[in-house]
Structure formats: C-alpha cells, structure tokens
Symmetry: C2
Subunit: 344 residues, 2 copies
DNA sequence: TTGTACGCGTTATCAC
DNA sequence: GTGATAACGCGTACAA
C-alpha cells in the first residue's frame, strides 16, 4: 500500500520518504547515514522529502538491524543520593559525547529489584551496563558478562566477577580518616557503618576492623553501629554511641546520609561537635557540605570521575573487540579538614 | 541455517529455543507471552529450552513488532541538582511499576542539547516524554505532540504548548515567601533570581515583580539579581546585594544551588543571617536542609510528587486513547519556618 | 492446539 | 550511482 499522504497520527517511514522523493528505499537509507555515493540531485530531493514529512528514523528498527541499542544502562542504588547522582552525571556526560542513550534504574538495595533491572537491561540489549550493586546478584552479572556485554562495576567492589571495576580507594579512605583521628589523640572511635545486608556494607565493615587493628586502635564491638543507609539510622546510631557509658571521643560515618542523620541528632541534643565528639565523613565533597554547620571534616570520594571513567571503559570495550585485561581503577581520597574534628 | 548449539558469544533467538524444544516458532512466542493455548507438555519443553539456552527475549525486536518502546524518557535540566533528581526518582518509581524503562538526559540549560535529546527520544520512539524545559524548544515539543507522543511538562511552565503540565504552584510559593517576610516587617527585599536566558527564569522573574506589586512592596531594580543557576552566582548575587549602600533586610532565593551559594557567602563574611539579613528559599525540603546552619526558612516544593504525577499522566494517556483535556496539576507549597528569618 | 507466513522499519549486499 | 531484495528477531492472523 503506497501512501504519499500520511494519515492522522501516522508517523512517516523510510518508505514514505522514498515514495515522496521518487527514489528507492536504499537511496534514502544512504543519505540518512551520510553515504557519499548518492548524486547531489537525488540527495537533495530526499532531504526535502524528509523535511516535509517530518521523518525521523526509527532507532528501534535501526537497532534491530545493526544489532546494537546505542544505549548504556546504569543501575544505581538510589538516584536520590547525591553521591549516586554524581555517578550518573559522569556517565551521562560521556554517553552524550558518543551519542548514546542512558537508561537508569535504581535498586533501593533490594536484590529482586536489581535482578529485574538487569534482566530488563539484557532484554533491551544494552550495549554496556554500569552497576553499583547490592553484591547479591553475582550469578546474573556473570551471565551477562558471558554474553559479552561490557559490564563495569562502580563504587562497590564485589569479588569474583570477571569485569572492570572503578571506584575510590576506600581502604585508603578509611585509613586516612582513622589516622587523622588518631593523630588528634582519639583512640575510642565509634563507627557508623552501612547496611550489613548488602555485600559492600559487610565488606567495608570488615575493612574498618582491619584498619583499626593495623593502626593499633582498641576494639570494642559496641562502637560499631550498622543499619540501613538512611537518615534515621544515622541519627539512631549516633545517639546510641553517645549514650554509651563510655562514649567514643570521635565518630566516623561511612556515608553522607548516615552522617547527615548523625549531625542532626547532635544538633538536637546536648552533644556538641567537635566539643564532645569529633566527626569524620567519607564522601564526595560537594558544595552542600560547605554550608552545613559545623563544617564536617571529610575524606573525599570522586563519584563524578568514577562515572566518567566507567563510561569510558565501556566505550573502549565497545570499540576494541580485542580482549584487554580487566582493569581496576581506584581514585585516591583526600583529607579535607574542617571544624568537626579536633584534638582530644 | 539451523543451529542447536550456540557459538561463542552468540545470543540465543526464539528460533534457537524452538529448534531445541522441537516446536514451532509461534509456540515459543506464545509461552513467552503467557498465552494459555499451549499444551503443558510443550510449554514445559520450551521452558527447559529457554533455561538451558539462557534465552532472553530481544526487546528491540518485540518493540519493532509491537510499535512501542516500553520506555519513557525524561529530559532534565541538570542531573546533579537534588530537586531534579527527585523528579527523576518519582518518575522512575511509577515507570518501574509498569515495567517500563527510564531514559534520562539533561540539558544543562543548553537549547541545542535539549533539541538533540528530544530528537533522540523521538527516534527511540519513546512511549512518553517528560520535560523540564529551557522553554526555547517549543516548536520541537509541539511537533512531538503532533505525532501523538504523550508529553508532560514538569516544574517549568511554558505557555503555548498543548500538553499536560505538572508543577508547584510557584506563584503561590513566591507569595507565601514574600508575605512571610512582609509580616516580619521586611520591605526591602533582595531577590536572587535564576537565569534570564531560560524561559522560566524570566517567567519567574516577572512573577516576583507582580507579586511584589500586589503586596505593595517597594520596587528597586538593584534588588533583583539574575544569573546562571550556579553556586558561584548565588554567592555573587548575595555579596552584591549586601554591598549596596542600602542593603536589603531580607533576601529570597528561588533555587537551592543559588541559596547555598548565598549562605556560603554569608558564612565567609561579616554578614550574619538572620542578624543582618533574613533569608528565604523556595525549594524541596530534603534532609540536607536540616543540617545547614543557620536553618533556612523555606517554602517547599514537591519534586518527587511532581515526578510521580507526571509519569502517571503519561500512563493514563497511554492506556486511554480517548482524548481527555490537558491537565494542569499544581502542588501547593508550604512554609517551613527556621532560623534564617526574623522580625525586623 | 499447533505451525506457517507475513510484516514491523531498517541496513546491506548485490546486480544493474 | 541506483534499485531490488534478503535479512534482523519477533508477534500474530490464519490455515491446518
């Protein structure tokens, strides 16, 4: 059925422009894709037809034909967290450079949600996948990798997955934080950990214990508070710590939201930071931390850079089919001293 | 070419599972889509084949066939802004409910970028598009609408576009903020506006002027500072205001980033909030504002709710083909008084 | 209940 | 330089 006039709500196809321009289908395809082997005259006719029809190439058909989706998908823990947003931002920047689409999902730390999203990404034939994982979908991730989908894990390291990883040097960040406190004379350090139900929560928990041992810091189980990555939990943990018969003289928070909760708890109590207790945070140093009071000493992370780096790796793998060895990129943390930590 | 064994890196198609299961292509398709008219025996065989092959339906092909993409696309101004991310979060929540994908792009207030993204969305055959626009791509947006793509504009109102809109009652928010200050005795109110190069920046600027007139507040052009939506600009504007021979006694910031810049400028100067000047912010009241000091009085916005609502509208339009009238959903702002405003 | 065949909108390989 | 034509992977009438 030839149609030179489009019906209501009909969307033009390549056939329509071919018909209108009076050329063949292949010719239209060529001018769309900038193939030089089309005479100027015909090329012009095609362009006019495209314009008058308001034709827009159907990526879906293109993708089916060319067997790629021109989209890279990213699975975050929680879009709403500034750290995670920065990750997404970095990824988006380079995706755009390559004229790629960006698909975003978030897990909210739920394994089923993560599985669903990963399966969605697979069905969509995402050209690349960037994952900030709960750490409990190893099988699924490995199966994606086996299908030759470039996967880059970010922020949270999960062992046993054969793929690229980009993140902060978190062990080093912990060390810097603890050393800073130790140098100020603090020995009794409370830790506001993350969620032990996530792999990386447990992993970082172990990391802290290790570093504390290494630095010769005394160990007291009660000084380690764990729980979900929520504002409320941050407050609860802080209150519990300060309610101890012998409270810590310093506290380390491993995450922005937890730390915010702790600060709020302090502000709403008699506890003064840093008068009664010092506080250190490991997180991205974005401008919001300039205006919280007291100014929080932090060991900085680099989510924006991580995002960019991860995306770049995806595109490298997409370009060069040659199997390069899996990379492990770690960005070095920096200590930013503000008012929340002081000498004991 | 029949192949019952997949080559390295090959990905199974519906044909492969049909071959392995010894059934026809159509049968496989049916079990995938949950069609009941398949005998249990064959259905089982197919499922086994799917499992052993690790088959995953190709959404691209499905989408081509069914003429929908199962993705809704969202165009934000800046992924990094918490307000905007809350929008995305709300949208994502309902997209997930419907088993839809979410594609995200950001303009960074650049018109060309917005056009590119919108064209990408069109080529992708996005089932629905949610836009927080610079306001300068009206033609493009209208052309999308003419092609029967459900479009919802969020946050920033742009007149003359026949589509649904969801946002805050910003005029009312301005009024609440100004009335609050006026009630405290403030007449000389400085305004830190947004970017006059964006449509909504100019729009809101006009809105403020109108409300000030309505409330009988004196008009002084020098009290209105405009510029890009950046932290630096917020600081600059604040400093300029406070450097006036007769500085304002109160300041209204129309955006979180600008406000943060202003607070930082104050903290780094002799100017005390609220001692020397009161400060009000119009924005989402997320937890970070609990811990900035001084506590900032704000008129709240509801980006999360806006996002959810916008997405729901998209799906309504997707379901019911019947042309319902375009909706205009406004969420009412609330005044949250903190320490940054005080009686003159 | 099951299988066949066609078409979705493209790209790519051919002959011409 | 140009135009048929066969795929790409799938859904779905239709026939069997």
């Amino acid at each position: 059925m030839k149609r030179f006039i489009l019906g209501e709500g009909m969307v033009a196809t390549i056939k329509d422009v071919a018909g209108l321009a009076g050329v063949s289908l292949g010719t239209v395809s060529k001018v769309i894709n900038g193939d030089q082997s089309v005479s100027d005259k015909r090329s012009e006719r095609v362009k006019v037809a495209i314009a008058t029809l308001g034709y827009s190439p159907n990526s879906i058909a293109q993708n089916l034909r060319t067997a790629n989706s021109k989209t890279i998908s990213v699975l975050l823990a929680n879009i709403t967290n500034p750290f995670q947003m920065a990750l997404a931002k970095g990824i988006e920047e380079v995706a755009v450079e390559h004229n790629y689409n960006l698909a975003v999902s978030s897990t909210n730390e739920r394994v089923e949600k993560e599985l669903d999203s990963l399966e969605m990404f697979e069905r969509n034939r995402s050209d690349g996948i960037i994952i900030c994982s709960t750490g409990k979908t190893k099988e699924k991730i490995c199966s994606l990798i086996e299908k030759n989908i470039p996967v880059v894990m970010v922020d949270r390291f999960v062992p046993g997955i054969p793929c690229d990883y980009v993140g902060d040097n978190f062990p080093r960040a912990i060390e810097i934080a603890l050393q800073h406190l130790q140098a100020l004379g603090h020995n009794r350090i409370g830790i506001i950990h993350g969620d032990m139900n996530t792999y990386h929560g447990a992993y970082r928990h172990g990391l802290v214990l290790k570093k504390m041992r290494k630095l010769g810091l005394p160990h007291d189980t009660n000084l380690h508070k764990t729980g979900p990555y929520t504002y409320e939990q941050g407050g609860n943990a802080f209150r519990e710590l300060m309610a101890m018969s012998v409270p810590p003289t310093a506290v380390l928070a491993v995450n922005n939201v937890l730390c915010a909760g702790a600060i709020n708890a302090a502000n709403n109590s008699e506890v003064n930071i840093p008068g009664d207790v010092s506080l250190v945070l490991i997180n991205e140093n974005n401008f919001m931390w300039d205006i919280v009071s007291p100014g929080i000493t932090m060991v900085t992370q680099s989510p924006l850079t991580i995002g960019r780096s991860a995306a770049n790796i995806i595109f490298e793998r997409l370009r060069g089919k040659e199997k390069m060895a899996f990379t492990n990129t770690l960005f070095e943390p920096t200590l930013v001293v503000r008012e929340s930590t002081r000498i004991l």
